[in-house]
Amino acid sequence: MNIDDELRRLFDDERLDLAIRPGAEQQIVAGARRIRRRRFATATACGIVALVVVGGGIALAGTGGQESLPPAVSTTDPVPTTSSAAPSTTAPTSTTRPPSTPTGTIEDAKIADTTAPESTATTPVYYFDVIDSWSYGPLELLMSGPDALDTGLLGAVVFADERCARYTATYGGDVVVSKRYGVVAIRVTRPVTAPEGIHIGSTVAEIKTTYPQAVEDRNGLHIGGAPVVTGFSIAGSKASYEEPWSDDALVDRIEIGTTKTDCANAF
């Protein structure tokens, strides 16, 4: 008996093919997500800092655990980039948040993006309809800066210091990347929906109905807690910090972010 030949025959045997249980792929993808999240949770176990970002940024507050929302990434058809940098005109535009810091506004990002070379590129930009608590399309919280750039969704740099950079996003919004933690915030101003149905244009009342645990902050309302929060930025501004948001005020941006961040200056 030639063992070499016998081994090859054995290794080619069709009985080695195994039937795959339905849902196995999703199970593996979910497991990979769990590992990634656990890795970050371990890194942040030494202390979670409640942080409210100054200047129209996401309110990141550690207010207790949040059950992970199911992954939801649905794509729509690609559209040319020539006019894609600006947020959709279907988003509420009756009032916009006034710039409160010289470098921390989405308006700055829009201006920078329109002058960026990428805005004339011919490659398609993919829009994504759903933002979950960890990801928006291929962009994920905690992914490395190079990985985020590889998605092709990051445009011009509108802020950078020794720790962080804020990029305009070709889909409409911006992304903040920490050298230490990777992507720490993803903000979306184009029409987008959270898994439970809250979307750009939803009212404060709808948020409170959908998320009774939602917490008001100076920029809107947020849900979740360490390690990530989802924020619903409300158009306009309040007369005072203590004043509650009006029930009919509208969401003008949905954002997700990590509670552990060193990028407060980037917003």
Binding site: L7, L18, R21, P22, I28, D150
Partner: protein, 162 residues
């Protein structure tokens, strides 16, 4: 993890087969595949960017993982178990294959070397790189494995003929 789900969907059948070869049974194969794929997926973008061939990378990772750390705790199963054939996977379809039985008795590293050599058609150098050992170790492990198989097969065939 853009693209990872698609990668899993396409690669899973082949990886399960490969895992079956490495471990010698379907359940441990599913365990090994799931463990390694979840780790690969958690760093998917880096794997794609740095390896160029995620399937090859995953296979090497499986071989390495199988050799270096044998998992005792069963994970959720990826493979189907149809009710009317309950226990089908508990019956080894290769029970009547002496060579398969002997392969299962080999130490994990020796078995991995044979799988990489005869299933993946890797050279000694490539096997050494995949397992993180020297070329000499690969040669010695392959030699020991083949000697064991030849010796036991001879005994087995002699016994059958007696």
């Amino acid at each position: 993890m853009d693209g990872f789900g698609e990668f899993v969907r396409e690669a899973l059948p082949g990886l399960l087969r490969y895992g079956y070869l490495l471990t010698g049974n379907p359940h441990d194969a599913a365990d090994l595949v799931q463990t390694v794929l979840e780790k690969v997926g958690s760093r998917w973008a880096s794997v794609v960017r740095n390896t160029g061939d995620p399937v090859a990378y995953t296979r090497r990772a499986m071989a390495n993982s199988h050799v270096s750390r044998w998992r005792r705790t069963r994970r959720e199963q990826l493979i189907a178990e149809v009710p009317d054939v309950r226990g089908a996977y508990d019956r080894d379809p290769f029970a009547n294959e002496p060579l398969w039985t002997l392969l299962r008795e080999l130490p994990p590293r020796q078995r991995a070397v044979l799988v990489l050599r005869y299933y993946e058609d890797l050279s000694e150098l490539e096997i050494a790189a995949a397992l993180g050992v020297s070329r000499g170790t690969v040669k010695s492990q392959a030699s020991k494995a083949m000697a064991t198989l030849r010796g036991r097969l001879r005994v087995s065939m002699a016994g059958d003929g007696a």
